[in-house]
């Protein structure tokens, strides 16, 4: 099972350039169509389950607006 992850986008910094949307290997990032930030851009957001926490969106993000988290597998009971 692939690891689970999530991203947090600092919406006030995001400029809606869409590079993360294009780069995401799981295609789970979209630009939010229902809202704009203080600068008038549609910020990026996670749209679907399926983020693996690979960090590729953060590597391409020109604004360093994305923080990436990945779940750590819980320790097995017999260990």
């Amino acid at each position: 099972m692939p690891p689970k992850g999530r991203i947090e986008v600092k919406e006030i910094i995001c400029k809606g350039c869409g590079l993360c949307v294009d780069a995401c290997p799981q295609h789970v990032i979209i630009l939010a169509e229902d809202r704009i930030n203080a600068k008038g851009y549609h910020p990026a957001e996670l749209s679907l389950d399926g983020c693996t926490g690979c960090g590729i969106c953060a590597i391409i993000c020109p604004e360093a607006a994305i923080t990436v988290y990945r779940q750590v597998a819980p320790a097995k009971e017999n260990q």
Partner: protein, 258 residues
């Protein structure tokens, strides 16, 4: 039994980069380059002894975005200013951050002489094939046939000459220790660019002389393309003309273990 979900942070904002909004256009790779420089400064724990030298151009406001000391040089003169700072304060880490209009045009003399003297400084050279800040005019690095606001039918090499390949030129100088070209158009190349910046900074810290990383960059606004299309344009047009690679790696640099 439900265990609390534990998470590890895969990526977070570098400490050396201030948490502010930049003035760059959406999709501009200046932001990527800033982030890579800040990440390398964090990794090498250089924040308290770094002095950056900003140039003139879009990156002239770089001092607003970094949590390190900065000075701004006259147009093109960043390598000369960095020379003075490094010679007066040899224990500091000094890097310049210059665009192609600054470094390859008005500042060509300074960069060539800093390289041939083997000054112990690092240079980040952003090459986006036009003058970004002033509205997309033709630069020394504009590709043949590329349309800009001052070459509206495309750069005519009979009239305006050929683009300058700065990395290849500086690599011929004996004083240069580490001269490479990288691109910022996809995650793989961005990772490689970060490694090159790390080696360039290590070159300076170990006193091995002049290091420069040329980063092929996009300018979506002045190329009249979307950010995603401009990345594609960079890959299709600029990378063939400006081949990526290591143009000068001094044996002492190649032996470094990081």
């Amino acid at each position: 039994m439900d265990l609390p979900i534990q998470e590890q942070v895969v990526y977070e904002h570098p400490v050396a980069l201030l948490d502010v909004s930049t003035h760059y256009c959406p999709g501009c790779t200046h932001g990527v380059a800033h982030r890579l420089v800040a990440e390398v400064i964090d990794e090498m724990n250089l924040q308290s002894k770094t002095i950056g030298v900003a140039s003139v151009g879009c990156s002239g406001f770089i001092y607003n975005y970094f949590d390190v000391d900065f000075v701004v040089a006259a147009h093109g003169r960043a390598p000369a200013m960095a020379t003075g700072i490094k010679r007066c304060l040899p224990d500091r880490f000094v890097f310049t951050y210059q665009g192609d209009g600054d470094l390859a045009s008005i500042g060509m003399a300074e960069i060539v002489h800093a390289a041939t003297r083997g000054e112990n400084i690092s240079v980040i050279f952003m090459n986006n094939a036009n003058y970004g800040m002033t509205g997309g005019q033709m630069a020394p690095t504009t590709l043949p046939g590329q349309k800009t606001t001052s070459s509206q039918t495309g750069r005519d090499v009979e009239q305006q000459g050929f683009p300058i390949r700065v990395s290849e030129m500086l690599a011929k100088l004996d004083g240069a220790s580490y001269v490479v070209r990288r691109s910022l158009h996809d995650p793989k190349n961005i990772r490689q660019a970060k490694k090159a910046i790390r080696i360039a900074f290590e070159t300076q810290l170990r006193g091995l002389g002049f290091s420069m990383v040329e980063l092929l960059s996009v300018c979506p606004t002045n190329w009249n393309l979307t950010p995603v299309d401009s990345m594609k344009w960079l890959e299709d047009h600029m990378v063939p003309y400006y081949p990526l690679g290591d143009y000068k790696v001094h044996p002492a640099v190649a032996e470094m273990r990081i």
